[in-house]
Symmetry: C2
Subunit: 204 residues, 2 copies
């Protein structure tokens, strides 16, 4: 319902990262915004199933790495299309650094990082919102930030579409293709965990 209207809201793209109990992880989010200036606070939303979210819950600390227009699709694949429950995403990731408080963050294709200490956790059902005090931040480059629109137009690989063939469904978020004429209403994208409402019909 109202998918098209909601897509008109403008978002940025970020790697959200956290560390707790000797583990660390990161995931892609598009919901990060400043909410107050005095004191300086920002809000982020993360899926309850997210491993990074679970680390934030324990450590009460998170870092947002702001992706820019030079970010490549591998960053989205690495941090967005696999779970930190299965893979240590920072283990072999070369372009990373650590905040003074020991939280790793992704530096490739990123123009800034912002670290927050959680002030409030708000239960939104499927997601958690964390509102945090900004404790550390730095600029990494002067490349413009990537908007969600920019990602879809320039970063995400385009897949060839055939006008005739079999009907299928493509996730507009990550590009995953469900092969079948009828997409179940409760289908969840196995790559990016978005719901059936984020799929569009295509021919393959």
């Amino acid at each position: 319902m109202f998918e098209k209207e909601m897509r008109n809201l403008t978002y940025g793209l970020f790697v959200l990262s956290a560390a707790a109990d000797g583990k660390s992880s990161g995931c892609i989010i598009n919901t990060a915004m400043q909410v107050t200036d005095t004191p300086l606070k920002m809000a982020i939303c993360v899926n309850k199933n997210s491993f990074t979210g679970q680390l934030i819950r324990k450590s009460r600390r998170f870092v947002v790495s702001v992706l820019d227009e030079k970010a490549d699709f591998d960053i989205f694949r690495h941090f967005g299309f696999q779970s930190g429950k299965d893979v240590d995403k920072f283990a072999d990731w070369k372009e990373k650094a650590e905040t003074p408080d020991g939280v790793p963050y992704q530096t490739r294709g990123a123009n800034a990082w912002i670290e927050c200490e959680v002030d409030e956790e708000i239960d939104l059902g499927t997601h958690l919102m964390y509102i945090g005090f900004v404790t550390n931040a730095d600029i990494l480059s002067d490349v413009p930030s990537a908007s969600y629109t920019y990602y879809h137009e320039h970063i995400k690989p385009r897949q060839e579409e055939k006008k005739e063939g079999r009907k299928a469904w493509r996730c507009i978020i990550c590009g995953y293709i469900y092969e079948g004429a009828d997409l179940p209403a409760d289908f969840i994208c196995p790559w990016c965990k978005h719901p059936a409402s984020d799929f569009e019909p295509i021919m393959i």
Copy 2:
């Protein structure tokens, strides 16, 4: 503190509107985002001093009108640089419509509107965050949404800068100029209510 890093977060621009007790108003915000899909909820932030915010508090309902790249500076001046306490902003505003629940919204230079019923109010100090269920929405045009960056580069009038002359401070949000070499740290922009940290030094 961290002004430059926070500016790298990507925002859209919106006219937030509400109605209560026979009064209505609207203001400019840059903080609106979808927070969950099932059920469909979005979050907005509004300054506690905002008259529109006070109407939301009473009516528990708000509308977000998504500004697009054809939006003109007059919309920002009309809804952003004056208070609904002094002016009935919708009274003589021609490009408006009403939701089924009777809330007026701004239609000029807007590509969609989204109406929400408040589910939660979160006190953020200087601001209030409202999280609401999306109850109605519609597309108005296919013009791309205006990002905050687009507003600064294409919609906001540029003021001539002199390299020599008197030192002054310009609000990077709305363009207001404070004439004086030293901007007080607690200065609040009289036009858009943003703090001293949103001012940049210029020569006039």
